[in-house]
Amino acid sequence: MNMNNMNNIVIEDSLIKDGKNHVIINKSGDYTLNLNHTNNNVVFDIKDNLSVNIIEINIQNVKTNITYNINNNSNVNINMFDDSNSIDRNITINLNGTDSLLNVNIGIISHNENNYKLNIFHNTNNTISNIRIHGITLDDGNIYILNNGYIPKGSYGSILKQDNKIIEMGNNISKIEPNLYIDEYDVEASHGAYIGKFDKDTIFYMNSRGLDDDSVYNLLIKGFLLEGFTINDNIKNDILKIISKYWR
């Protein structure tokens, strides 16, 4: 595994084979994650008192198994954008430190099979997770989201929020399983799941300001897929270029 001065984390075949799959982040900043392997198994340890922004843009078929361990008082944003035929992501996040904060934003354009399995463990008190997964299916695309949130006894004062939405623009059927496993009273937890089309009231509202359907969908899709992303304008433009392949 290679981590250069630009905070660019490249996960390469040879390093994975060597079994060096442990990344320690001990410095605040933006980290771009580049997957150059189809079967990744990586563990990130994010140390105390950090503010970390992880960005991953993926346009190839990928199978990953990534674990993030977040320690005391660290604030972590994970921004992921997928546009490929086959995705199989297994993401485990351990909020191991008090006052740790996690925001996960995943934007998906699905052309075939996209599977996302998330397990978010609030392993100690006063931990916060906000998970937002927004996907769009095209043609034969379908998305499966299994989003599990765990707050065991003793993790009081924790907050867990899930927002899972899939807009179907293709022919297949998607599935969301949003699960909350809570064993503590003094917590806040909510989850939402939506599979369907864009809301007709919204489309009428936007049309009623003079926007034609193409402009409406263009704005809605870009907003929907990138909502909550904490990325700079250059990276945002890179993603918008990908989205514009399909919607102007």
Partner: protein
């Protein structure tokens, strides 16, 4: 400016508008009052051709052009603006991006500099927080902020006909005053602009004085008059119009306004 002739509208086999007629000339302010469920909001959506409603018969003309069943965005671009009773919340789309796109959809796109000046001025006029136009449309806004955001859009898009669908609902006294002042200022600057106000209450009409007041019951206008009609309704309610409506009696005088 707007003329609606014998409009009959259904949704899911339920008749909502029944032989509805109205004519609004340039520079006029009309108010439609009526109890809940009489089709007032339906009317506003049908003018903008919401495809969930079926126009069975009748015509809608805007500046003498038949706009019945035209596309919603085409009607809007002709200069009709609907300020909604319940404005949508739209994730991930900011008011600034939304309005810039709307203006660039036009034949005469606006420069970024001009747009920024215009939207900043509108925000100041409406006493809105400066970050609101850069947030997702109406997301997390209070009732009053949503209505101000509607009027901000009106000021930017500069329509010829403004439809205010219960713009007073959810507004506190101070916000109502600001919203109405902005609409009145707009009408001073745009002498030919017309307004169709849809409301339950007279309160709004104290701020935006209508030339004509219509009472709408069961999908059609039952009575028309001037501002004094609004005062009468506040005092006596809609009882005499709804009672007569129960047996479809023709006893109610339909004062065809010209």
């Amino acid at each position: 400016m707007l003329k609606i002739e014998n409009l009959n509208v259904k949704i899911n086999d339920k008749q909502i508008l029944k032989n509805f007629n109205i004519e609004i000339k340039n520079g006029e302010i009309h108010a439609i009052m009526g109890p809940n469920g009489t089709g007032k909001s339906t009317l506003s959506k049908v003018i903008l051709s919401d495809k969930r409603y079926t126009v069975e018969s009748g015509k809608i003309y805007f500046n003498k052009e038949d706009i019945t069943n035209k596309k919603t965005n085409e009607i809007a671009k002709k200069g009709i603006f609907l300020a909604n009773q319940l404005p949508c919340e739209i994730d991930g789309v900011t008011t600034a991006d939304f309005l810039r796109t709307a203006l660039n959809n036009d034949d005469n796109p606006i420069s970024l500099y001009e747009f920024i000046n215009k939207i900043n001025k509108a925000q100041e006029d409406l006493k809105m927080k400066s970050d609101m136009i850069h947030r997702s449309i109406n997301k997390g806004f209070s009732g009053g902020e949503k209505k101000k955001n509607e009027i901000l859009q009106m000021k930017i898009l500069e329509p010829k006909l403004i439809i205010l669908d219960e713009i007073d609902s959810g507004l506190d006294v101070d916000s109502l005053k600001i919203v109405c002042e902005n609409i009145n200022d707009y009408l001073v600057e745009h002498k030919d602009a017309s307004v169709l106000i849809i409301t339950h209450y007279r309160r709004l009409l104290d701020y935006i004085k209508p030339n004509f007041v219509h009472v709408m019951v069961d999908g059609s206008i039952k009575c028309s008059g001037d501002y004094s009609l609004a005062l009468e309704i506040e005092k006596e309610g809609y009882g005499k119009y709804t009672l007569n409506n129960d047996n479809n009696s023709s006893a109610v005088i339909v004062d065809e306004y010209e």
